[in-house]
């Protein structure tokens, strides 16, 4: 059965991970695997070498990488002012679409840990030492999601992001159509390639739809706020 196959692969990856990091141990819970303990890393970026350790707890869903792990830090070592922990205590390793795109290259659990967890904890340690982010950070919430799509599509225009994501939603990708970004080029010569990646992968596609929904909800909230301030100007739709 497929599920068993996935779980078996995951079990092996978890075994590899725990083997590689002697401070970590694992157990199976109702919602998936749990990995906890002291996570050490020794990493470098731009000549700044950081060696550090954190008490972590990771919850890994059985259908990983379809669903992504949740990571918590238990040693109260995330520095004050490092504002990238959500209200429920999960570490916000990055914009989900960015993580998913990059996971395509290295989908194993070790890949997840080596890339996102270390990148995040390295940022936290750098922040504790220098008070700055080594490679920047993203705005909170929907603004950070937009920032990622701006990088991905090479634009600064929200409506271009919306239109490109709507193409994904409508399942209506035609290479010879004009690109909605206004370049007057055919899609295949313009935003087509970066869009195709999303269209062709079901996990990326469903993530794109989640992001589009977050953007829509954000616009709706803006409308609600506007309506509260100007009660007579418009009607509720």
């Amino acid at each position: 059965m497929e599920v068993d196959h996935i779980t078996d692969t995951l079990a092996k990856e978890i075994y590899d991970l725990v083997n590689k990091h002697p401070g970590l141990s694992t157990r199976l819970t109702a919602s998936g695997y749990e990995i906890s303990g002291v996570f050490e890393f020794y990493a470098t970026h731009n000549g700044i070498i950081i060696q550090d350790e954190y008490q972590i707890l990771m919850q890994i869903p059985l259908d990983y990488p379809k669903n992504l792990p949740y990571v918590f830090e238990r040693g109260k070592k995330i520095p004050e002012g490092f504002d990238h922990v959500s209200y429920d205590g999960t570490l916000c390793l990055g914009v989900p679409m960015e993580i998913r795109q990059s996971l395509l290259e290295e989908p194993s659990l070790s890949g997840f840990v080596e890339r996102y967890l270390i990148s995040y904890l390295y940022s936290a340690s750098h922040f504790r030492k220098y008070g700055t982010y080594p490679y920047g950070d993203r705005a909170h919430g929907v603004d950070g999601i937009y920032e990622y799509y701006y990088d991905l599509f090479g634009t600064k225009d929200r409506s271009v992001v919306h239109q490109l994501l709507l193409l994904v939603y409508e399942d209506n990708y035609r290479g010879h159509h004009l690109c909605p970004c206004g370049s007057k080029l055919r899609l295949r010569k313009c935003h087509g390639p970066s869009l195709m990646r999303v269209v062709l992968n079901t996990d990326l596609k469903s993530q794109a739809m989640v992001d589009l929904a977050i953007m829509a909800k954000n616009m709706e909230e803006k409308y609600e706020r506007y309506r509260k301030k100007n009660p007579t100007s418009t009607q509720r739709f």
């Binding site: 470098t44 959500s86 700055t132 982010y133 490679y135 993203r138």
Partner: protein
């Protein structure tokens, strides 16, 4: 012991990447000698002598905006004129004009600086060069010298005080600023002497061994090239400061080198002369830690510990770190809470990176490479590397708001 070298050796290896070479040091002296000669031929009567790190033996490769840059070497041009008889603008241009007219110096001369004329000697050896800052000045007037003596500065140190020129506006207004590089050097040398004596013989031999093309005998090695643990600690601290403040995005709030040099020397006063650099760094960072407790209202206030600690003072919003040969000169002029906070955070990071790592010399070497930004240092000394650091694949942290 997990390695074939000690933490002290790791530190020395790091310093060999930061210190000026005997060749370049000799070259710089030759250059300013030639300038003095040239100016004298053009009727300028002046004494030329090094000041700051060039005089104190604490020259360190500077690091600015993420890069190693040329060494800064300061030379005072003390014009033999009476301060009362000349204007600061006259003194500044007395040095500047002949340089501008010279075929040899005009193209090395950078745009006028507020206090000096800078000649740029890029690429003196194949790696780097230096900037020679010529600081026009005259002997200080007697009223101000007497004021220093009254304030408790010994007469021998007060009488060598000078007045330097400062350009106050682009229109060409100049004023006088008080300065006393010779008096400062005398003060520093007195503290440094016992530390220097302890290592002088051994180092002379070493420098001679490595530079036989420069010196005919051990005795010919100039004393200025000898580095006591105090001088070395200062070099390390200056470089660490440069790198730290760059990474903290706060280069405009760096403590000036005079603060580091003064506090290090004050703290080192009376320590055992055979102390090592690592031990000295520990002592200095512990002292700064106590000051941080005292001045930042953290920790318990044990008065017996604090009443003798008066080198850094804080009064309401004003911070004060005095020039040891001119109490009217406040090195911390312009500090605010943020500057002070950063200064003490920096000293904590020095301790974390260069003192707390001392138990493992390999870790110390890695820490030096990273915190002083010396490329490839972590592979020096033939470390039998057990593992290399993972190269980060950067992902920017985000935060969901749900």
């Amino acid at each position: 012991m997990d390695a074939q070298f000690t933490s002290e050796q790791a530190l020395l290896k790091a310093l060999s990447n930061l210190d000026i070479t005997p060749t370049m040091e000799a070259n710089a002296r030759e250059k300013y000698g030639a300038i003095a000669q040239y100016l004298s031929e053009h009727g300028v009567e002046a004494n030329f002598y090094p000041q700051g790190s060039f005089r104190l033996g604490t020259v360190t490769r500077p690091f600015r905006q993420g890069k190693d840059v040329s060494y800064d070497l300061d030379v005072v041009c003390q014009v033999l004129e009476d301060k009362q008889q000349v204007t600061p603008g006259y003194v500044k241009n007395l040095i500047g004009d002949p340089l501008k007219e010279s075929g040899l110096y005009a193209d090395k001369l950078l745009p006028e600086d507020d206090r000096c004329w800078t000649l740029e000697y890029a690429k003196v050896d194949d790696k780097t060069g230096f900037n020679l800052d010529l600081v026009p000045s005259v002997k200080q007037d007697m009223t101000l010298i007497d004021r220093l003596v009254l304030a408790g500065i010994p007469r021998d140190k007060a009488t060598v005080a000078i007045a330097i020129t400062e350009k106050t506006a682009d229109g060409g207004d100049y004023g006088w600023q008080n300065s006393n590089p010779k008096g400062y050097a005398m003060w520093f040398d007195e503290i440094n002497a016992p530390f220097l004596a302890e290592v002088e013989h051994e180092q002379r031999k070493q420098i001679f061994e490595f530079n036989k093309q420069l010196y005919a005998s051990i005795e010919e090695v100039p004393k200025i090239l000898i580095r006591s643990p105090l001088q070395r600690a200062i070099q390390i601290l200056k470089r660490h400061r440069d790198v730290y403040y760059y990474r903290a995005g706060a280069e405009d709030r760096k403590p000036i080198s005079a603060i580091i040099t003064t506090l290090a020397a004050q703290f080192a006063k009376g320590l055992h002369p055979a102390i090592g650099v690592v031990e000295l760094l520990e002592h200095l960072t512990l002292e700064l830690g106590l000051y941080s407790e005292l001045l930042q209202d953290v920790g318990s206030r044990d008065h017996s510990v604090f009443e003798t600690r008066t080198l850094i003072k804080r009064d309401e919003r004003e911070w004060y770190i005095g020039n040891p040969v001119d109490p009217f000169d406040n090195y911390a002029d312009g500090w605010d809470e943020r500057t002070a906070e950063l200064f003490f955070s920096w000293s904590r990071v020095v301790k974390e990176e260069l003192v707390d790592t001392v138990d493992s010399s390999e870790r110390m070497l890695m820490s030096l490479a990273s915190s002083l930004s010396i490329a490839g240092l972590e592979n020096a000394l033939g470390t039998n590397k057990k593992r290399a650091p993972v190269e980060i694949k950067p992902i920017k942290p985000w935060r969901s708001i749900i």
